[in-house]
Subunit: 350 residues, 2 copies
DNA sequence: CACCACACCGTAAACGTTTACAGATGTTGG
DNA sequence: CCAACATCTGTAAACGTTTACGGTGTGGTG
């Protein structure tokens, strides 16, 4: 792994100055003869431009960072899938950060923006603390936040609308004739937990249905926890006829328990998940799920960031992505089984 | 976004030379008084070290690239999930490349290694062409290949063992009393397709079962294609009692068709998938699947690369990761339903 | 023939660090 | 009081580019 050639090596071999080499390599006007010599030398030496030196001089790295809480989380992966091609098309490399849902790590990432190893950042923070806001205000490169950020924070901001999402789902269930609609939520001290819980309550009110504490069950955002929560719920309110689950894993847990209890889905109990992950289409019965547009949010965030990088210095923008209800068999019955929505993705192996 | 402070700014403010500043910031021995002044100035200015300049001088970027065919592919994501923490713990950033399964893009990535924007590369190529081998031989930074690479290629190499994997599955089916074991494969001109097809044939031979062309159905690695293939297969050989599917998506398609046809799983037909993705545990019945150790391969690859980066210049190493059969309900029946294997992962949303 | 315009090229400085080397300062011992 | 030495600090070069600026040679014009 010997030291590679530099423009100096080329200049020497071609008998010209390094300035000429640089000009040729950057397509600036040069005499044909010089160009020929330089290209020949470069070719023979197998020259490749040093990106680090170039970045130092040009003050651009052509890299963008994406910081997410957890590489294992399907919602973030959906974002990643959309972000990647947008950046790639614009000639940017993608640096991935997983903050393991630790706020200090998120602050770290923000801080490291000062190292200027990237030109910009897309971040989806778990929750937004004062420390976050402080760092964001002082950020030395453009940042786009996926999630909600207070009015006045000087960054672009792409939001989901879980309130409308939950409403869509609850109205859907209502339209199917369900009147005992329960909510199976995750911890309510998390951002999504709180938002989804409130949205559920609001949606009921909207429909003129009574809010019943017995119909709300708190668990956690995992399959096993979801199952446990639903078991409790069933014991307490046997006449429940629909479950609004705060994410897809909880909903899968619900399906497990309902099957074990001999309740038919959706005939006896309809089930709705949230996030519309790949799992929703894969389960059986396939799962009706509220998409909060993770993919779309990723795409929009990438586009906003690119605009900033191109020099747009407009006011910070806020984009809210509309939720969508993916209706499948767990509410609408077997007719909707296998209704493809393009989420059938290749997987190989090696 | 004004120009940030540099060590020059600090030096001026603290009344010392830039050399002293650098020394303090790198923890080299310095007089207390100087150290104090420098740290104070740095603090007040909100100084952050410029990573690009540092990289240029030190010839290390503290970045490592991972190139995969497709960000949407669960097998690669499993690798990513393991690679990320290993690199992070060692202080490396992760640059992600998605080559969209285009060989030219893979070559590009290899070529761009010469730009020295990363210290090393982990790559899982779709297939290995002569162009790949040429670039690998000339690579200007350590590379670890996930997949198989010919003897003599000067890079570390982490392999799956699909032959043993398929054998495990077929033997499992045999042990359950199945004798008409079909294979539903993807295109046989792909690396995994060819390997899995051959392994199936070999496993049958091994067990003294006859190889029957009628029992082999070629489709593609998607759910809908899998379903189509299985439908054809069922029409042709109604007495089939087990399906060895070349990946999980095909297997999900198989479950769809079998359910529609009124065949019970596993009572009438047992089904095995491959890759053991999250989908396997989520489906119903849950899917027995051959894990080729994507996660493990990612982890090993990252560790091998780190060793190289630490200066190990041993002979190229080849590590083969053992496959594992995750037995679930689609072969072993309801008793195995919900048998957790730790793949129950948190998902939030925001 | 003198002069100018022009195209091309080379010199050198700059980007922000790290570090070899030599100079400055202070300490110790004779 | 000076030599010898240790300790700390500053100067300058280097990493590999890009680019402003001025110099050179050519051809054309008056």
């Amino acid at each position: 792994m010997a030291d590679g050639p530099t423009i100096n090596t080329i200049a020497e071999r071609a008998g010209v100055s390094i300035a000429s080499v640089s000009r040729v390599l950057n397509g600036l006007p040069t005499r044909q003869e010089t160009e020929r010599k330089v290209l020949k030398a470069a070719e023979e030496l197998g020259y490749v431009r040093n990106a680090v030196a170039r970045s130092l001089k040009s003050r651009r790295t052509n890299q963008v960072a994406f910081a997410m809480a957890d590489v294992g989380n399907p919602a973030y992966l959906a974002m990643l899938r959309q972000i990647q091609p947008v950046l790639k098309a614009a000639g940017y490399r993608l640096v991935l950060h997983s903050t393991d849902a630790v706020a200090a790590d998120e602050i770290d990432v923000l801080h490291s923006l000062g190292e200027r190893y990237v030109d910009g950042l897309i971040m989806s923070p778990l929750r937004v603390t004062d420390a976050h806001l402080e760092m964001l205000a002082a950020a030395r490169a453009p940042v786009v936040i996926i999630g909600s950020v207070p009015e006045g924070t000087p960054v672009d901001n792409v939001r989901a609308d879980s309130r409308t999402g939950v409403r869509l789902a609850v109205h859907h269930l209502y339209a199917l004739g369900r009147r005992r609609i329960a909510m199976v939520n995750g911890p309510i001290d998390t951002v999504p937990g709180a938002a989804r819980g409130a949205a559920y309550r609001e949606a009921l009110e909207n429909l003129g249905l009574p809010y019943d504490d017995d119909l709300v069950q708190i668990g956690d955002f995992y399959r096993a926890e979801g199952a446990r929560a639903v078991a409790e719920l069933l014991a307490r309110v046997p006449d429940v006829d629909a479950l609004m689950c705060a994410n897809d894993l909880i909903a899968l847990g619900a399906l497990d328990v309902l099957r074990a209890a001999g309740r038919r889905v959706p005939d006896d109990v309809a089930v709705v998940g949230m996030d519309d992950t790949d799992l929703a289409a894969a389960s059986w019965p396939s799962l009706t799920s509220v998409s909060l547009g993770s993919a779309e949010r990723g795409k929009v965030a990438a586009e906003l960031l690119l605009e900033r990088l191109r020099g747009g210095d407009s006011e910070p923008r806020v984009v809210t992505v509309a939720p969508r209800l993916a209706v499948r068999a767990s509410t609408a019955g077997p007719a909707y089984e296998g209704a493809s929505d393009g989420s059938d993705r290749k997987e190989g192996g090696a």
